[in-house]
């Protein structure tokens, strides 16, 4: 047997034995109950529908909206740009890969914020970071953004600005219903061509 090989074998076995004496790393990445409780107590996970809408309009690439309702509900109506991960498939490998992305702010929403908050707690416990919940869910989003109520004329500047932002955002997502109808009627206008009778002389001139 070649002496060189015996030396190399000795080195790698020594390194292998050295490994056995390394302290065990904490491979369990789940959050400890005390830390989870502190995180649940902290309301900063709730993002308002206005904040989210603002980032959607500005097309913030770091924002990832996740609809945790069922596929049927998602297909009926969704916040533009959202992806669908039903809460029962939240632990599947593809879903964990999506939610585990470190460079994105993942925002859960459901009809209210109950199911989405449950999804948040589950993901928080799995040690995922940068996850949030849309406050009030899609119902609040619909009533504040899509069905924004026009404030009275004596309302404060802030209220009027907020209303203008909300209706502008709604136009951004769904277009303006008024301009749509205008365009529709104007294109219908037929162009009528009046032909001169064949025998008619051109009036005036030579």
């Amino acid at each position: 047997m070649n002496k060189k090989y015996l030396l190399l074998t000795g080195i790698i076995i020594a390194l292998g034995i050295g490994m056995l004496f390394m302290p065990q790393r904490d491979t369990d990445k789940q959050l400890r109950p005390e830390m989870l409780l502190a995180a649940i107590d902290d309301p900063s996970r709730f993002l308002s529908t206005d904040d989210i809408t603002d980032r959607l309009v500005k097309q913030d690439p770091a924002l990832l909206l996740i609809d945790v309702r069922s596929k049927e509900q998602f297909n009926t109506f969704e916040v533009p740009g959202a992806i669908n991960i039903p809460v029962d498939s939240l632990l599947s490998a593809p879903a964990r890969e999506i939610i585990g992305q470190k460079a994105k702010d993942k925002v859960f929403y459901s009809n209210s914020d109950v199911t989405s908050d449950q999804a948040w707690i589950l993901c928080k416990r799995l040690g995922m970071e940068r996850i949030y919940v849309m406050q009030g869910g899609i119902n609040t989003w619909f009533s504040t953004i899509v069905k924004a109520v026009k404030p009275v004329e004596t309302a404060s500047v802030e209220e009027i600005n907020l209303y203008q932002f909300r209706s502008a955002a709604c136009q951004h997502f769904f277009g303006n219903s008024e301009t749509k109808t205008e365009v529709a009627t104007s294109t219908k206008k037929a162009v009528t061509v009046t032909k001169k009778p064949a025998g008619a002389s051109s009036g005036g001139g030579c």
């Binding site: 076995i13 390194l15 292998g16 390394m22 065990q24 491979t27 490998a93």
Partner: protein, 197 residues
Amino acid sequence: MVGPLIPMGVIPETWNNVIALLLGAGFGFSLEASGFSSSRKIMGTFFGYDFVVLRVFFTAAITAMTGIIYFDYMGWMDASMLYINPYYVMSAIIGGIIMGFGFALGGFCPGTSFTGVAIGKIDAMFFSAGLFIGVFIFSELYPLFEGIYNSRNLGGVKIYDLLGMRETVFGFLLILAAIGMFYGATFVEKKVKKVEY
């Protein structure tokens, strides 16, 4: 400096392809230098007269593994940031069978066939052409295979987690297994009739 260098932002992301090209060239050079461009050498593994493939790849595996475990322990790199390919069970099994069949039939694996092409081996050229035809057929028929291809994704699993073992214990056992195989291979090589190539 703490690694992995690119995910940590020590080296900008844009250098990724340049580094990949350099590493690829180095890999090709070492393959050719250790004789992997010869299909006869590779076939030695199946016939028992030359186990260099087994030795090279297991040496690479245990060296890299020992390096990662020690670097992580020293705090020179964060092993949890390493990208681990997701494990698609069905794709791995079916792909493994096809790959193994092609390997035994052609005497090359994809990487070694390119080193063969680089030094002008005609059988390697045919093998590489077949490889591209296979890629073309797979791409064209992708909708047919899509279901199987994407099924049973277990994510980036680690074998010692599946076995419920500490990673260092698994590492130690793998080193022992590799050394056992190296000596076993030498024993078989001595028994089998020498092939001149």
